[in-house]
Subunit: 199 residues, 2 copies
DNA sequence: GTCAATAGTAAGTGTGCACTTACATTTGGA
DNA sequence: TCCAAATGTAAGTGCACACTTACTATTGAC
């Protein structure tokens, strides 16, 4: 034997670059030549690390979730007991949401769901997002007498929907920063609010 | 002169076919050859009716909104005063939402927003959706003492978000028919509910 | 130092597809 | 019945781009 295989490390280095490139151009309009250039390598180097362009995209999708989860977990680690985790994430997302433009990968993925592997990656992404949010909503509900919506799973989907539509509004220039903040903040809180409280 | 130009009529005939084809394959994976075949004409016929593929897509996007608006207006025309128009639309969407798969065109459009004309068409689409829903929410608020969220515009965006995430859940097989119905129905009603009522 | 595997360079290649061109046929107003 | 415009057919064309091949240079365990 000679020279240890450093492919895994190399993949970890390059995935963020892939993700940002796919976010910028979408799936189809991203060329493997462009990916190589951004990564500072020739195309065939990428083809040694991943079997095809599709696999590069799937890797980028997985990276997007991991990055979000990491950010949220760091956020929750700094939580005190005055504000519930669910509210903390809402507040965070209402200001920082989408700031790296990575949501555009998700949009790209949504029109490539005929590919089973991409569909699977999208399922992982949305499934995990919803699962994560649901956990926080459930915890939040422990301190709530009469939740506006009883099923935490439904609330989690609705919150994911808020984030999604906020990103659509941003992408199309239909929602200002301020409007997006109010959308996620006010509607999100209405979904979490205690129905037993005063109006 | 001889033979009147029937292009406008022909366009009206063909647009639904374009829309269903784009919905099936997305923007990039739809070939002009396929469009021609589905329309039962040669490619260059399509190029006489629209300048390029992009224009065909934009026409399909506009068609999608027109179809939805038509459906909703017919629905509202049958309304009585026991249920508010906003609730009527929620109930309708919670069962029939996305049934023709045309939402997939919207997903396709979301990853083509770098094209100014497509972006503009998407803005029209989402802008009109939100505007339409907002009108119904506003009317609904007239009969409500303390709305859960005061700004009808925000509520409208949230409802559009519910529809969007429900379609994503359907597309990825993450939400069953039943779950989608509950998502749009229960969360939608929570957003419309009167905060002054009993819990 | 040797050798085998890794890492990198440079130049294809084949195909899919948006769009075009050249030509034939039909239509309907005068 | 003429003829100009509309409608249709058939066969390109050129380019973008995913993926490959052939080759060179580096690394590091022995």
């Amino acid at each position: 034997m000679s020279r240890p295989n450093q492919s895994p490390e190399r993949r970890l280095e390059l995935v963020p670059v892939l993700a940002h490139t796919f976010a910028e151009f979408g799936y189809r309009r991203t060329t493997t030549a462009e990916l190589g250039e951004r990564c500072g390598v020739r195309e065939n180097i990428l083809y040694r690390l991943w079997p095809d362009k599709r696999a590069m995209f799937v890797a980028a999708l997985d990276y997007v979730y991991q990055l979000s989860e990491k950010t949220w977990n760091e956020l929750l680690a700094r939580a005190d007991d005055r504000v519930s985790p669910a509210e903390l994430i809402l507040d965070y997302e209402s200001t920082h949401q989408g700031e790296f433009g990575l949501y555009r990968i998700v949009f790209a993925g949504l029109s490539e769901t005929d590919d089973p592997e991409i569909a699977e990656a999208m399922r992982r992404l949305y499934g995990r997002f919803q699962h994560f949010v649901r956990k926080q909503v459930k915890a939040h509900h422990d301190g709530v007498a009469v939740p506006a919506v009883t099923d935490p799973g439904l609330v989690a989907w609705a919150i994911v929907g808020l984030g999604t539509v906020a990103n659509i509004g941003r992408e199309l220039g239909l929602l200002s920063v301020r409007a997006r903040k109010r959308l996620v903040g006010e509607v999100g809180r209405a979904l979490l609010r205690d129905w037993a409280d005063e109006g």
